[in-house]
Amino acid sequence: MIRCLFKILSFFILITISPFAQNKILIPMDLRQTDHLKAYGVTFHALENGLKADWLLNYCGGSFLIDQSDKVVSECLIEEVYFEQISLAQAAQIYSEVQSEDNNMDVVRLEKAPKIAVYVPPGFSPWDDAVTLALEYAKVKYDKVWNDEILRGDLEKYDWLHLHHEDFTGQYGKFYASFSNAQWYIDQQIMYENNAKKNGFNKVSEMMKAVSLTIKNFVGQGGFLFAMCSATDSYDISLAAEGVDICASVFDGDAADPDAQKKLDFSKTFAFKDFKLEMNPYVYEYSDIDIQPVEIGLQQNDYFTLFDFSAKYDPVPTMLTQDHANVIKGFMGQTTMFRKNLIKNSVIILAERQGTDQVKYLHGNYGRGTFTFYGGHDPEDYQHVVGDPPTDLSLYKNSPGYRLILNNILFPAATKKKQKT
């Protein structure tokens, strides 16, 4: 009788324990990871499916710990994402290690997949934008929005907005000198002009300023803004130039305000101050914020370094700088890097070229939201030019530069925790 009871008890214990024997999935993000970029997609999809995920800051390159799920396992297998199935006891050990005061690590709970919008004009191809390339590759869902959607208030539907190399000053990317006769430039100008007319603006520059202000309100109300390449400085310039005509006649049909520089209001910008505008339409530059190629020098010396933040005290910058490499190869763009002395004191510098005044990656708060600016066009294409073929991300599965982009899409999923400082 006792033997029988023992057998039943053993069976019961077995069936109770077995589901828990492997009830966490660890996705390490250090050098063991086979596909860092798709790992973000797997975590994002887990959140979409209602699972909880923990972001283990600074643990094995910023790993993810997800509830056991066959779906997640299957996705990891299909997408070639390295993972480990671990027991609760092992998970507890990891938590204890991460939360120990002796380690610069912490746990951030990811609750809900953020709703993502990417600002792109109609007819846009994903390969012209590193973020959409990364999102497509990681199979993360996103919506495309443009001026019409932004101006009619659609941003309130989203948590995260990405801007890439768009020009918010209304100067069509300042490609006038090289491409004013190119068909794509002509088509683009007409498309913007028609769009401005449709939205009740006489000039494209006026519409772009209205768009910039709407985005600013989105951030003020708690939105997350991530901008790359020329969307960073052109966006801030557009905010500073509210009510000032900075566009030459080739862009908007009338001359720029001769006193435009003096009339800039830097208190309206997110990140930059005291910059000097480049108002010559034949010069492919918006202002002196951007670092020039001559200042960067040789490609083989172009690397930027991520700052090390305290995971427990500064979780947000820590999340944004999770990476398996600390020193990352640089890449150019219309806006490559930002001049340090033109960055506001309130802004946190996340990455820079060591020993220089060249800042690659920065983050700041505005109202209830945040903004992150990342200089350069494509982390795996050193000098991307118009008409270049798309970067095949399957060849750069472990790109540290692209990881920084994807940190930004998971960061809005984090549960807000009171900062310790």
């Binding site: 299909i78 070639e80 007819g123 002509i186 100008q189 007409i190 001359a255 001769p258």
Partner: protein, 612 residues
């Protein structure tokens, strides 16, 4: 007295020249200020110069530009108005005045000034062009279109501004109107056709452009043959080959090019893989031009199109997913018309290039699609014996070699493949293939040393598609040097496999697999045995055999391939998608470094899509 007058005149002109020089220097100084960005100072200087000489057009233009740069629109208006008083017949000034108002934001005033100018100078055709250019400069394309249309009406010449209008319609994406303008131009002056066609084709790929343009061109079709050509070009751009064919037929009837346009069209769509339409076009040519020079090419095109249609249908019915299989013999009813089409060529155009190619195609059809290797050599022999200099000779020799292997005549096969390797005109791919086949033949004859040597020639070029197979086979030959009895047995089985004698081959593979001494051949023989079961459609037994291999894990180098093949059997043979996914997932878990991972992942994604 004359002397005095001359001296006075000289002094006067000297003073004037000096003054002009001084003004010019002042002007250049103003330009320097302007370049520095000191617009205020520049204006100050040019205002002085303009005051001194209000008739000077250079001063006037510069001053107006500076006013506009400083957004001093009222001053610009006053300046232009004062100039109008001096030269009231200058239409440009009205254009400039309107432009200033436009820049200042007063569009209605701008339009009024421009329209008044058009009214005032309507007898001059240039007025319209000048004023519309000012509107274009302000990117007010709609207004420019309005003025050009007005100009057209005033001049009573419907083609006067057609080019300008068409360009503007195209810019503003009004493709229907653009096409209308261009078609009117062709109608008025057919000599401009080529130029206009290239203009239309330059934007026809834009969204919506092609449909709207086709719609318009159709309406003009009855006027001139050029419209039919244009329509056909546009329909080809749209890949609407059926309708393009109708147009080409009409053109063919009306024109006198004796089917050559149709032949180019047919060849083009054949290359685009539109075989059904191509077949119809070739047929049409054959029906309508019985004695023309184009007929041989048309007959060959017809037969090739027919063959392409047949092959596509045939391939979809064959289990191409298997490593080995006996291709099903095609229905004679499907193949015979193709063969007849080629025979037609060989009968009529004896000794021609098209006839030689036709012999080759007939042989291939018998050999591969009717599985009829008896008597087929005749077709290839015609080429090798009668046309040794033909580019098809090496292909014919290769096929003769393949047939000899099928028939078990290895010496004969060796002779054929050797002929290819010796042929100076043979292309590198054919030579490489023949070297590989020679190596296989030597191995079937237990001459492993010669087999190894032949493989070296293939492995030398790593870009060669056969290099991988050659490397794999070479590794086997090299590693099995000390186990020649099993190597011989294995090669015997491979020979049987090549002859599609799967049952007999399986017995030998099993025999090797069961031999504990056959260390190197153990894995591959087991795998081959399972593949023979698959080839014979014995799926359940194959799955069991493959499970055993997969479970051997690292003990069998083919265990990952076994799981992959198991997935394929479930996917295509037994058609159980869940089981297929299970096999592929198992492959992903157990063999994370397998060569088959990418394909397995792709298959999982496709199967899951189908299930959902």
């Amino acid at each position: 007295m004359i002397k005095k007058i001359l001296i006075t005149l000289f002094l006067f002109y000297s003073a004037l020249a000096q003054q002009n020089q001084m003004d010019q220097n002042q002007f250049m100084l103003a330009e320097s200020y302007e370049q520095q960005g000191n617009l205020g100072k520049a204006v100050e200087i040019v205002e002085g110069l303009n005051k001194k000489d209000p008739t000077n057009i250079q001063f006037f233009n510069k001053l107006n530009t500076l006013y506009l740069q400083l957004k001093k629109y009222d001053e610009s208006v006053l300046l232009i108005e004062s100039r109008i008083k001096i030269v009231p017949q200058d239409v440009n000034l009205y254009g400039m005045l309107g432009s200033t108002y436009y820049t200042a934001g007063d569009r209605n005033k701008a339009y009024k000034i421009w329209e008044d100018a058009i009214e005032q100078f309507k007898s001059n055709q240039m007025t319209i062009r000048i004023i519309s250019n000012y509107a274009i400069e302000k990117r007010d394309f709609e207004k420019a279109i309005e003025y050009l249309n007005l100009g057209k009406a005033l001049s009573k010449d419907p083609y006067l501004f057609s080019y300008d209008l068409a360009e503007l319609y195209q810019i503003t994406m009004r493709y229907r109107e653009a096409a209308n303008e261009y078609c009117n131009l062709i109608k008025a002056n057919p000599a401009q056709y080529q130029q206009i066609e290239s203009k239309i084709l330059s934007y026809s790929n834009k969204p919506g452009a092609i449909d709207e343009t086709i719609e318009v061109v159709k309406k003009f079709k009855s006027y001139d043959l050029n419209f039919s050509y244009l329509l056909a070009r546009l329909l080809i751009e749209k890949k609407n080959y059926e309708e393009a064919f109708i147009i080409y037929k009409e053109l063919d009837k009306k024109g006198n090019d004796k089917g050559s346009e149709l032949l180019s069209f047919a060849n083009f769509i054949y290359r685009e893989n539109a075989f059904e339409v191509a077949l119809n076009v070739f047929q049409y040519i054959l029906d309508n031009y019985k004695n023309e020079e184009i007929i041989p090419a048309a007959k060959l095109g017809y037969a090739k199109s027919k063959e392409a249609i047949f092959v596509a249908k045939y391939k979809s019915a064959n289990p191409e997913w298997k490593t080995f299989f006996i291709p099903k013999a095609a229905d004679g009813k499907d193949v015979q018309p193709v063969i007849e089409a080629y025979k037609d060529i060989t009968d009529i155009y004896k000794h021609s290039d098209v006839a030689i190619e036709a012999y080759l195609r007939i042989g291939i059809l018998y050999e591969y699609y009717l599985n009829d290797i008896e008597g087929v050599e005749n077709y290839f022999n015609i080429i090798t014996e009668n046309y040794p200099m033909s580019k098809f000779n090496s292909l014919a020799l290769i096929e003769l070699g393949n047939i000899a292997i099928q028939k078990g005549r290895l010496d004969e096969a060796e002779k054929y493949f050797k002929s290819v390797t010796d042929l100076p005109r043979a292309n590198p791919d054919d030579r490489s293939y023949s070297n590989y086949k020679l190596s296989r033949i030597f191995s079937y004859k237990d001459d492993f040393e010669s087999a190894r040597k032949k493989l070296l020639a293939v492995m030398g070029n790593l870009k060669d598609n056969l290099a991988n197979d050659a490397i794999e086979f070479s590794i086997l030959l090299n590693n099995a040097k000390n186990d020649s009895s099993n190597l011989s047995l294995y090669c015997k089985a491979e020979f049987l496999t090549e002859q599609h004698k799967f049952e007999e081959a399986k017995n030998i593979y099993d025999q090797i697999a069961q031999n504990p001494q056959a260390f190197i051949f153990h894995s591959i023989a087991k795998m081959r045995s399972a593949e023979m079961l698959v080839a014979n459609d014995e799926y359940s037994s194959a799955v069991s055999a493959l499970t055993v291999i997969a479970e051997e894990a690292e003990k069998n180098i083919y265990s990952d391939k076994a799981l992959y093949l198991q997935g394929r059997i479930y996917q295509y043979g037994l058609k159980i998608p869940d089981k297929a996914i299970e096999s592929y997932e198992s492959l992903l878990i157990k063999f994370p470094r397998s060569l088959y991972l990418d394909e397995a992942r792709q298959n999982i994604i496709e199967l899951k899509k189908k299930i959902s």
